[in-house]
Symmetry: C2
Subunit: 416 residues, 2 copies
């Protein structure tokens, strides 16, 4: 049996423990929802004050050059690149994940249509369990292209290979599933997709900053992801898009705003794409929210993704083991794989009264979230979550379950 003292010992020997001091965490709270909204780095407040007072308030329009606002999407892209195995000048932080999926998927289909051997392919494969916006964007894109595309929705990762055949133009997969935390094998699926002559677009929303990602090692085609979960960039902070060098000369997407132009300040009448990562940009970016992404990324410069992954697996292993030791006898079902190779940085557990229990946990300061159907979702963010946090969270969960301290009549509320 694991003891609280053992968890304290784990914290004492945890090399990442001091990073927690870089974050502003609320008192009396065990925050297990960094997979939905990452915590606030202290530096974000100072940075926002500087941008508003000095860059906006004092230097005003001159900050577009002087403070580097115009270069910010690519500067941040370069800072983010090492976390996902991207090279310099391959990543832009810009727009939302949804908009970036649209750009990357449209560019991929355009690339396929331009090649004689793949021009006729009209199937796009993705998972039915994907976060809905991925599917919705593909539906909007294909409806709008009106060129015979169909979506093939796969029910389980094991069925992906069978679904990816010679009719497939594009595969859009989420590396770590938002609901279950199931992680698929990026390198193997990319290789298989390429063998079938299709392109692959990876959604890294629940991977970037959570698990090691190496897009180049996998030889992937495109990727998108968000910065406000494990990267702690701030609420709704702009997302990222990765276009590797190999695809940049042919990257054509429909959102051809002036930031994607070769010479945006020459005010030419005809659009001429930049031919580099800027071709993935569109219009003017929300500079304050965008800039704060660097406060989140800076924390990652103090450690490595390997160390983060090691602690993440230790945290999730501990959580699973404690639940099994402390909460046996309750109708809990582990939805997240036990196998490390298939686990992201979250643990999802189903319970018939999952929604009510999550609300009771939040009341007691343990902040996880709920996802349909019945899933209690707990994110583990090694930068600011301790092993003692895990102990206390399970102790509170045990108390709630053992004494049925939850209200099954609660209405479900909108949460993201």
């Amino acid at each position: 049996m694991i003891t609280e003292a053992y968890c304290t010992e784990l914290d004492q020997s945890d090399e990442l423990a001091t990073l927690r001091d870089l974050f502003a965490l609320p008192p009396n709270t065990i925050y297990l929802d960094g997979n939905s909204l990452g915590a606030q780095p202290h530096a974000a407040l100072e940075q926002a004050q500087h941008i508003i007072r000095h860059e906006w308030g004092n230097d005003l329009i001159q900050s577009w050059n002087k403070a580097g606002w115009f270069q910010r999407p690519l500067q941040l892209g370069n800072e983010l690149a090492p976390l996902i195995g991207a090279k310099p000048n391959e990543v832009a932080v810009t727009d939302s994940t949804s908009v970036n999926i649209f750009k990357a998927a449209a560019a991929a289909l355009h690339l396929q249509r331009s090649q004689a051997t793949t021009a006729q392919r009209r199937v796009i494969v993705t998972e039915r369990s994907n976060f809905p916006t991925d599917i919705y964007i593909l539906q909007g894109l294909t409806h709008f292209l009106n060129d015979g595309y169909e979506l093939r929705l796969v029910d389980h990762p094991d069925q992906l290979n069978a679904a990816i055949d010679h009719d497939v133009a594009l595969v859009l997969l989420t590396h770590v599933n938002y609901r279950t935390g199931y992680m698929v094998d990026m390198a193997a699926l990319t290789t298989y997709t390429h063998q079938q002559g299709a392109l692959i677009l990876w959604d890294l929303c629940h991977s970037a900053g959570a698990v090691p990602v190496d897009l180049h090692a996998a030889n992937a085609d495109f990727a998108v992801g968000c910065t406000y979960k494990y990267l702690n960039g701030g609420p709704g902070a702009p997302a990222f898009i990765w276009v590797p060098e190999k695809h940049q000369p042919h990257f054509t997407q429909p959102l051809t705003g002036w930031w994607a132009h070769q010479s945006p300040f020459e005010m030419q009448t005809h659009f001429q794409g930049a031919g580099d990562i800027r071709a993935a940009l569109c219009g003017t970016q929300p500079i304050i929210s965008l800039s704060l992404v660097s406060a989140g990324l800076d924390v990652f410069k103090r450690t490595t993704m390997a160390k983060i992954r090691a602690k993440s697996l230790a945290l999730t292993d501990l959580f699973i083991q404690l639940i099994e030791e402390q909460c046996s006898g309750h109708p809990l079902q582990l939805e997240t794989p036990r196998h490390h190779a298939h686990r992201g940085s979250q643990v999802s557990i189903a319970h018939p009264h999952g929604y009510a229990i999550v609300q009771a946990l939040i009341e007691r300061g343990v902040v996880g979230d709920y996802r349909e159907p019945h899933i209690m979702r707990f994110g583990f963010t090694p930068l600011y979550t301790s092993f003692s946090d895990v102990w206390r969270a399970v102790a509170i969960l045990k108390d709630i379950l053992d004494h049925q301290r939850y209200d099954t009549t609660l209405e479900k509320n909108a949460v993201t």
Copy 2:
């Protein structure tokens, strides 16, 4: 001859003069670039601190509901609506102007194709002198639609009526030209466009908060605009999109992200559009930049657009008259119409060494900007610009011109 004392008197009787105290303006600066980036309302700093410390830092994920983050695009849209003659629940503040043009233009073309009488129309009319992103987005959209659309670029507003014929599906016009400050007649052009059976999309980037706009009185179809110029929402703050009630049931745009879904939290597999203004949304928004838009909009609640317009015309009239009195003999050419009905809230003046003179003005604390070719652009923002500012700006311009205190060897730098 106008005297400095006369300008001081104008300030003393200016009802809007005290609004200047609501803004953080740099010392020793006459800021005439609010048409590019509006000044910082003091309230923006306090608001950002509150959002970062309390909403993000303390309440974390709960702020999506508790602080109303999820409702913010429509809440701000409702606050902005009265400034442009929109009704409640017709405006969303979201994404960039470029992305919103894409949505609105795509929706308009979709609407035209769905109607038997206009299904075959394949021409989109806009002005060659439009801000380039408007043209680029139309090029990207029509290229991807691959359905025979062509752009018809008009060289002067006087030629618009001739260009809008029965082949035209959509007209995209900017109400006030970014370079010259020329304002077209929204009501007349909308009526004419409808008579020809086409739809019209208005770009209000240089109108919202600058001149009175009444979209419903004009019976317009769609509109977009930005919040970071005359609305003082902050650098690159999210833009707005207007979809009137009459078009909401049929508003179909390709960027079908989850925020546009009827029931975004039910996580359904199939996209079902919201059928109201939410159909113009796409993905998660940059909450900090987005929220600060309200600090800018709040200032407008203290006055009326009629009063702002009256002062704006007084300021630009004064500027033009002073230039003519003080700077005669120099090769200056007024690019902005003298006729009030055709003037926005800026004055553009061409000079062969326009770029160098603008740099010299900035060195002396008079911040305007430069636009190709040869144009010195000065924006007048009645909320924080005084008549004495105008006097001093012209005095400094006169000194620079009279003594050729500018460096014609300067390289042109990227400015927005």
